[in-house]
């Protein structure tokens, strides 16, 4: 196994970016971290049904991506999608209620953690089958292009999807028809326990783009600004009618695939190196170093977000379950 270590050599200087953008990046990353920490606690205490897949450590990728998009752009989400949903603007209350299977959830409790999303915020409820969202994202982009709306679609997928046929069929269709779709690979190095070097000869997923004659780039996925820059370029290209881009974001999940996975298959030095590049505290430190925002203001912001998450939990726990007879709703339009 070839170890992939975090590379921060391309980390951007904050001073050239508007403070408003940087603050929003931190706000959304912190919200995702706090939201998932609370969800995990409720889940482990047995208060939340189902199963959850945490994105601790991967927050910068969806945040950098979604902040580079327009509000009316679309995203498709993965099974590890809480962060993607929050980054696109899905409210924490309805998202938390969905995790509890409540009627007030963003999908009325029909989806659960594996299928979160809200079309009102441009987030198609998540497709939890690895790789299966790629053709659908291409189709959303097909319609956006036909209607001349100038909207683009981001298809989030993990590097585990990189060897699925549907992803390749979708990349090819998007390439030949110049569809406004961005394939965003959250490469956290492991498909459950299988390291990417056991799954492909390529060093990078982005190499696959060459097969379809589309641009493919690899960026540091723990730096929201690196991601933001890459997505902004890809989005412009897509809006200009020049077709898709594959953007690979190197990142790392802090925990296992899910609760019962202790992730012991990962070398300790690799874990240690990536934990040292935890995107949330790293970005906080960079904000402090940038000195346009004070530590006390950041602390206030964090208090505010903790309160938002507390409100979301209370909303979710106090909401009703859907009536059992409503299990028959929405089978057909």
């Amino acid at each position: 196994m070839k170890m992939v270590m975090p590379d921060v050599s391309d980390a951007r200087e904050l001073s050239t970016y508007p403070l408003e953008l940087l603050e929003e990046m931190y706000r959304r990353m912190y919200l995702i971290r706090e939201f998932e920490s609370r969800a995990n606690e409720l889940f482990l205490r047995g208060l939340m049904p189902g199963t959850i897949h945490l994105s601790h450590g991967q927050e910068a990728t969806p945040v950098g991506t979604c902040l580079a998009l327009r509000d009316d752009d679309l995203i498709t989400l993965t099974h590890r999608g809480h962060g993607q949903a929050l980054a696109k603007g899905v409210p924490p209350e309805t998202l938390m209620a969905e995790l509890f299977g409540k009627a007030t959830g963003c999908c009325g409790g029909r989806g659960g953690s594996l299928h979160v999303g809200d079309m009102a915020f441009g987030a198609l409820p998540a497709i939890a089958v690895v790789g299966a969202s790629a053709p659908i994202a291409a189709g959303l982009a097909f319609a956006c292009k036909r209607r001349g709306s100038g909207r683009v679609v981001c298809n989030f997928f993990g590097e585990g999807a990189a060897n699925k046929g549907e992803l390749h069929e979708a990349m090819n269709l998007a390439a030949i028809w110049a569809l406004p779709v961005i394939f965003v690979c959250e490469n956290n190095l492991y498909a459950v326990s299988t390291h990417l070097s056991d799954a492909m000869l390529n060093d990078y997923v982005s190499e696959r783009a060459a097969a379809y004659r589309i641009p493919g780039v690899t960026v540091g996925g723990n730096d929201p600004i690196e991601v933001y820059e890459a997505i902004a370029v890809a989005a412009k290209r897509a809006r200009d009618g020049r077709g898709p881009t594959l953007v690979e974001c190197l990142t790392y999940r802090h925990g296992g695939h899910k609760r019962d996975d202790a992730a012991t298959y990962r070398p300790p030095e690799e874990v240690e190196a990536w934990l040292a590049q935890d995107p949330v505290p790293s970005f906080r430190q960079r904000l402090v170093d940038d000195a346009r925002i004070g530590a006390s203001e950041l602390a206030d912001l964090e208090d505010e977000i903790r309160a938002i998450v507390t409100t979301a939990v209370e909303f979710a726990q106090s909401s009703d379950f859907p009536p059992p007879e409503s299990a028959f709703d929405n089978v057909y339009a």
Binding site: C107, R110, D118, A132, A138, G139, E166, A170
Partner: protein, 350 residues
């Protein structure tokens, strides 16, 4: 390339309205594409008409932007159509052979059929998938009764027309429907140039030029009768009608019903017929295990129990793959001889 000379877009004269299924469906598609700019066709080789010439000459009127050739990429273009449908377009996906939808089954079963449901009704997926079905002398991988494999999927509609008039009206309804509609047509019933067309009283029929639609989920009594009810669809319906015409001469009066749609299913029409005849035979090309006829038999047993004079019978394809050699295929797919024997067995209580 198919020979297109004798299969033109429009009948040659206004009086020549005696159409085949493929001509009737093509008219439906043209009318719906003229009516709604969001309707488009996507699939392999659709610019030259597709395998059964459904889309013949459509590119001349609608252009390559709405008659879209794809790579051989079934999961890709099925999923792409799901996405386009979510964003409000109305794709008609043309499969060369329904058999190839197996490579797109995740997109059909896990995505198309349930995205509306699992999103809590946030999205609609108005999508038609055209699937040529059934055995037609092409061996084991181009013969699947695809309607049988799709029948149990919750959240889809499943249409199996047997006659040109029905095919046109149902196809128009399918394109206007806001759900995933699988539109299965038997390979021996299209009447496309160069392909065998099963002969029966409804292989070609008058199709009015005037606009009409047929609601999904309505059965049709194709032949009235008194002694026994036979429910059959697609190729089996044609064979049953031929058998019923013979048996009429022999004093056996057979009521023949075409369900036309498997989902939603018009049980009432069939129950009413069985209440009259007291006898029911179900003929389907599906493999016998788990065919729609098994569900129908259970439903009729429940709804018409007091009226049934003889055990309900089923005639279906045995549970083996379909071989190429013509006499072997013919041994497995229910033919007129076996349908006749089954009708007589039910009618006479043998």
């Amino acid at each position: 390339m198919p020979d297109v000379a004798q299969d033109t877009l429009e009948p040659t004269a206004a009086s020549d309205r005696n159409l085949t299924i493929v001509q009737a469906m093509r008219e439906a598609l043209v009318e719906e594409m003229r009516r709604d700019p969001d309707v488009f066709v996507v699939g392999e080789d659709v610019r030259i008409g597709g395998v059964f010439l459904l889309t013949l000459n459509l590119v001349d009127e609608f252009g390559a932007e709405r008659v879209i050739d794809t790579p051989i990429s079934e999961a890709g273009f099925t999923g792409l159509s799901v996405g386009a449908a979510i964003e409000g377009m109305r794709p008609v996906v043309d499969f060369q052979y329904g058999d190839f939808v197996f490579t797109a089954m995740d997109q059909l079963i896990q995505q198309a059929s349930k995205l509306r449901y699992m999103s809590g009704g946030q999205v609609k997926v108005p999508l038609v998938i055209h699937l040529p079905t059934g055995a037609s002398g092409r061996g084991a991988q181009h013969c699947n009764p695809i309607e049988g494999f799709c029948y149990p999927i919750p959240g889809i509609k499943l249409v199996t027309p047997s006659s040109p008039y029905d095919a046109k009206g149902l196809f128009k309804s399918a394109i206007r429907d806001d759900n995933v509609v699988l539109f299965c047509v038997h390979k021996h019933l299209y009447g496309s140039k160069g392909r065998p067309l099963a002969e029966s009283s409804i292989s070609r029929e008058h199709v009015p030029a005037e606009e009409y639609t047929i609601p999904l989920g309505t059965a049709a009594v194709k032949r009235g009768g008194e002694h026994v009810t036979v429910v059959a669809n697609m190729l089996m319906l044609h064979r049953t009608l031929n058998v019923a015409a013979q048996l009429e001469q022999e004093g056996v009066s057979v009521e023949v019903i075409d369900p036309r749609c498997l989902v939603p299913f018009d049980l009432e029409t069939i129950v009413a017929s069985v209440q009259k005849t007291g006898r029911l035979l179900i003929v389907e090309e599906n493999h016998e295990r788990g065919g729609w006829g098994a569900q129908l038999a259970a439903d009729v047993s429940r709804e018409a129990f007091g009226y049934i004079d003889e055990p309900i019978r089923r005639l279906a394809t045995p549970d083996v793959p379909i071989p190429f050699s013509p006499p072997l295929e013919a041994r497995l797919i229910p033919d007129e001889e076996r349908i006749r024997a089954a009708v007589l067995a039910v009618a006479r209580g043998e």
